[in-house]
């Protein structure tokens, strides 16, 4: 579409547009709002005299690429700054250790099995970075880039489903959402997995808008890649299937489902084939059996009380508001609702709960919240201009509150370190390095739990085992070996050092009490004390039988 709009404003599709601005910038903006947003319209504002700076700013403000670049720059900033402040937590140590083991890093091959509980796409992608030494920061940089990619995907999906402005606002909300920032700053499977699901959502929306089964196959292929990152992403296929079956927009739901499912299988079957042909199918089966039979590890309100604040109460509220709006009772609302609710419902019902598990719901929630913030009419009490200002103010306030939340949870306090998936582990890296520097190679360490054992093993390359690992094979991760008889193990010299940490002790006071008895019984002497502020968070004791 090319044309001349009232008031000397020229828009030329795909080419340079020139605007002569005799009046105020606001008047130009008003005109611009009358133009349907279209991705292939590019705009350049030219001005004269002392207004040049103002007009330049206006150019940035109105240029989609500049705006998106700004959001992405902000996303990268909050994900990259001070990334190495704390060392890896237990989960990060496992995934990075798998990558190093897969790469043949001699420091890791005998300590970290490649085949554990999850598919191996992330270790495969990270392995070139872990070929030698004990790097940790570079793994997190890759994760931060996946986090930025997630924001890009959110923008593209928003632009496809609604328009550029909604996509931009959703991307901004994702960029500074503490939940997403926290997870994107760790070497976890969720980051890349959800990045692929967001692009899958984008392509699914494109299929709905444009038609052509290849778009559907592409969406499914990316979801297949997401499943190869983390197997629980298969839940998103359920969300997509529900949309196809319910939406009136889809003409041939069954045929679409077959194509969608087939494409997912075409990609994700490679991971199963790898497991079978490397003779580790039984290993995978053990993990699945263990996962399915695990008892619940958190209360029913876990997600409500931990994830919702991290996403932002206002963001979640706006998303819920969007779903209730009559104007959103269309395929767009249905698609985003299904995409958000699939993981929420599944993981709420699933006994095993984890902080990062609801990350796939974050992009559709951000998109719905952005939609709400872009279209809310304040009950008709405000004029068009007043409502616009109010929406802008509310959007800014929410984004600012999220940014403050990022600062509070990610940069200013290690308070979240006690919960799996909420950040690095203060003091863990330093304790591991102390072990490597001061203890004789081969020295065995007993930790309170397997998470700290993983951290110690990652940074020191010394063998470590968790006291809390159950001796019942039905109640432990198959990757871990239990300490059947801690007394005997100490007396036999298997463990010369015991590691107590405040995080594991808070999670399992009974295990902490057991270790206290061992410390007393075997004449423990503290040889290392790691502090975070004034608090001792990790203490290493030497014991004698």
């Amino acid at each position: 579409m090319a044309g001349v709009l009232p008031g000397r404003l020229f828009l030329i599709p795909g080419r340079l547009g020139v605007v002569s601005v005799p009046g105020s910038i606001t008047s130009v903006e008003r005109k611009l709002r009358e133009v349907p947003a279209a991705s292939d319209l590019r705009l350049v504002v030219e001005a004269e005299g002392p207004r040049q700076l103002l007009v330049f700013l206006s150019r940035i403000r109105e240029s989609p690429s500049w705006q998106v670049a700004g959001v992405l720059g902000l996303a990268a900033l909050v994900r990259m700054v001070d990334l190495g402040r704390f060392g890896y937590n237990g989960d990060e140590a496992v995934y990075a250790g798998q990558a190093a083991s897969l790469a043949g890093n001699p420091l890791f091959v005998n300590q970290f099995p490649v085949f554990r509980a999850h598919p191996l796409l992330l270790p495969v992608l990270l392995s070139p970075l872990f070929k030698e030494g004990t790097p940790d920061l570079r793994g997190r940089v890759v994760m931060a880039l996946f986090g930025v990619a997630m924001v890009v995907g959110c923008y593209l999906a928003g632009r496809e489903i609604y328009n550029h402005r909604t996509g931009r606002l959703a991307a901004l909300l994702m960029a500074v959402m503490p939940y997403d920032v926290t997870i994107s700053r760790q070497v976890l499977l969720d980051g890349p997995a959800v990045a692929f699901t967001v692009f899958s959502l984008w392509l699914l929306a494109r299929w709905v808008r444009k038609g052509g089964m290849l778009w559907l196959a592409s969406s499914a292929a990316l979801l297949g890649v997401a499943i190869l990152s983390k197997e629980t992403m298969v839940v998103m296929a359920g969300g997509a299937a529900a949309f196809m079956l319910v939406s009136r927009r889809v003409a041939h739901p069954l045929r679409s489902l077959v194509i969608f499912g087939g494409s997912i299988a075409l990609v994700s079957a490679w991971g199963i084939a790898a497991l079978v042909l490397t003779s580790h199918a039984a290993t995978g089966g053990d993990y699945i059996a263990w996962q399915l039979t695990r008892s619940s590890n958190h209360a029913l309100a876990f997600y409500l009380t931990t994830v919702t604040p991290a996403m932002g109460w206002l963001v979640v509220g706006c998303a819920a508001g969007a779903l209730m709006q009559r104007r959103n009772r269309n395929w767009q609302g249905l698609l985003l609702g299904a995409w958000a609710l699939a993981p929420i419902v599944f993981f709420q019902l699933y006994p095993l709960k984890g902080f990062s598990y609801l990350l796939p719901a974050a992009p559709p929630i951000a998109l719905l919240a952005a939609r709400f913030l872009r279209t809310f009419r304040w009950g008709g009490r405000l004029s068009e201009e007043g409502a616009r200002i109010a929406r802008s103010a509310l959007s800014t306030a929410i984004a600012a509150s999220l940014a403050i939340g990022v600062w509070a949870t990610v940069f200013s306090s290690p308070a979240g370190a006690g919960m799996a998936g909420t950040g690095g582990l203060p003091g863990g890296r330093e304790a591991g390095r102390w072990v490597a520097a001061n203890l004789v190679p081969g020295t065995g360490l007993m930790t309170l739990g397997p998470s700290m054992a993983n951290v110690i093993e990652f940074y020191s390359h010394y063998p470590a085992q968790g006291l809390s690992v159950s001796t019942d094979p039905l109640h432990r991760n198959p990757a871990y070996t239990p300490i059947t008889n801690p007394d005997l193990a100490i007396r036999d010299g298997q463990f010369s050092y015991l590691v107590w940490d405040a995080y594991s002790a808070a999670r399992s006071p009974s295990t902490s009490a057991r270790m206290s008895k061992l410390l007393t019984r075997y004449h423990a002497r503290a040889v290392y004390m790691g502090r975070e502020g004034r608090m001792s968070v990790i203490v290493i004791y030497q014991v004698h039988p």
């Binding site: 897969l102 444009k210 490397t278 081969g442 020295t443």
Partner: protein, 452 residues
């Protein structure tokens, strides 16, 4: 450095065997070795523990020992099953000499009370039970011609280890008490520190030791020692060993005697291995490691089969006892080397006397080969390393990495191929035509409205 006399140079590889000259300078070892720890376990022959070790020539395949039952088939050496009962064997002087049979080494089965027990004597342990001791042999020095000083059992051999003689000990038992000069008298007189660490020894037991304790610790069978407060104070529980290591007070010469972890059948060897591991791990984690040596050996063969005939004692006096395992663990060990010099229990005394300039106690220790042949002082010290009993984590299942890469990158290529196909197809058809089969909802104009 000891000159090479026979065989080939030590290459630091498991399986290399060599014999080394014993005429080394005592002063050279004294500068390096300031602590000697003597650990004596019980009742196992060399073949019983090391017949299957990779650095040792295999037993003859046609080896088969006769039984006492006429017409019964002979008994071949075999690997003991973990679940198999290992009854205590007769290891008396008479039984041992019967087994040796004048050097024919064919009386091990018939020396026992019956064929069933005699059959057990032909058994040997495999890597499952011997993992730790074999790992020590791979890292340090293994002596494969180290004989018990006497064919007479635990007490005389333990007496040899501290006195260079068995005091004409017959079968009266340690309870009868002995009084001979020991290496500790010399050490005490020279002001050289020493201690005898005994597993589970309490203060009342020092005053009134049990018969078993006297067998395992010859000093407890010596009223003269127990009556001397200065000497008796050096007999202490093994827990003190760890305290001394930690506080940097490890004496120059330490003897360690296990009681409940002695490995004496029917006890499982793993219990003794764990005890020894604890002692050595503690040493490797201490500052004393760099100047220490540990001799780990067994008092006698315990009735178990060994195929090497013990040589005659120089100057008359019969034969030595059967071969027993002996490992020298030190930063200066000949790493992974099997040293084949002929040695016996008194070689321990010879080393102490040479290293601390003491006068030999008897002609036996004066003429024996010092443990120093197992050291190479010119080599780069072996770094300390703690050994654990079992893998700490589940075995690291790596699998073929290239298969993992192929499959996961294959999946990415398939996904990328579908995307590329989609984009090209879209370009070919102009990129804008909606699928009429899908278009039953809002019109394009309505979509534009929604995009506002």
């Amino acid at each position: 450095m000891a000159a090479l006399v026979l065989g080939f140079p030590s290459r630091g590889l498991a399986g290399a065997t060599a014999t080394f000259a014993s005429g080394r300078s005592p002063a050279s070892a004294a500068g390096h070795i300031r602590h000697l720890i003597v650990i004596v376990q019980s009742h196992h022959s060399f073949d019983n523990y090391f017949a299957l070790y990779e650095g040792i020539p295999a037993l003859q395949s046609n080896l088969c020992l006769p039984t006492a039952t006429a017409g019964a088939s002979c008994i071949k050496p075999f690997t003991l099953a973990s679940s198999q009962s290992k009854a205590g064997l007769n290891d008396s002087s008479a039984a041992t000499l019967h087994a040796i049979d004048g050097g024919r080494m064919d009386g091990f089965v018939t020396a026992q009370s019956n064929t069933e027990v005699g059959t057990v004597a032909m058994g040997h342990y495999g890597v499952q039970e011997m993992g730790y001791y074999w790992s020590l042999a791979r890292r340090f020095t293994l002596f494969d011609h180290f004989f018990a000083a006497s064919p007479g059992g635990s007490f005389p051999n333990r007496l040899f280890s501290v006195a260079g003689q068995d005091a004409s000990y017959a079968n009266a038992g340690a309870a009868a008490g002995v009084d001979v000069p020991t290496i500790f008298d010399e050490l005490q007189a020279e002001g050289i520190s020493w201690k005898y660490y005994v597993q589970g020894l309490t203060a009342p037991e020092i005053a009134a030791p049990t018969g078993y304790q006297k067998t395992m610790v010859p000093l407890l069978a010596m009223p003269r020692v127990l009556g001397d407060p200065a000497m008796a104070a050096r007999l202490t529980d093994v827990g003190q060993y760890f305290t001394d290591l930690e506080s940097g007070k490890l004496p120059a010469v330490s003897y360690v005697a296990s009681t409940s972890s002695s490995e004496q059948p029917p006890q499982d060897p793993s219990k003794g291995e764990a005890f020894v591991r604890t002692l050595i791990n503690a040493l490797t984690q201490s500052a004393e490691w760099s100047t220490s040596a540990v001799i780990l050996t067994w008092d006698d063969a315990g009735g178990w089969y060994d195929h090497v005939a013990p040589p005659a004692i120089a100057g008359g006096g019969g034969r030595l006892g059967l071969r027993v395992p002996a490992l020298l663990i030190s930063p200066y060990s000949r790493a992974g080397t099997v040293v084949s010099n002929r040695m016996d229990t008194t070689s321990i005394l010879r080393f102490i006397e040479q290293n601390w300039n003491l006068v030999p106690l008897t002609a036996r220790d004066a003429s024996s080969t010092s443990l120093a042949v197992g050291l190479d002082l010119a080599r780069r010290p072996i770094p300390p390393r703690v050994s654990t009993a079992a893998p700490m984590q589940a075995t690291a299942a790596r699998g073929p990495a290239w298969l993992v890469y192929i499959f996961y990158l294959g999946a990415m290529v398939v996904a990328a191929g579908i995307l590329t196909w989609t984009v090209r197809s879209e370009r070919r058809r102009g990129g804008r035509r909606p699928d009429p089969k899908l278009e039953k909802g809002p019109s394009a104009q309505r979509v534009l409205e929604l995009r506002k």
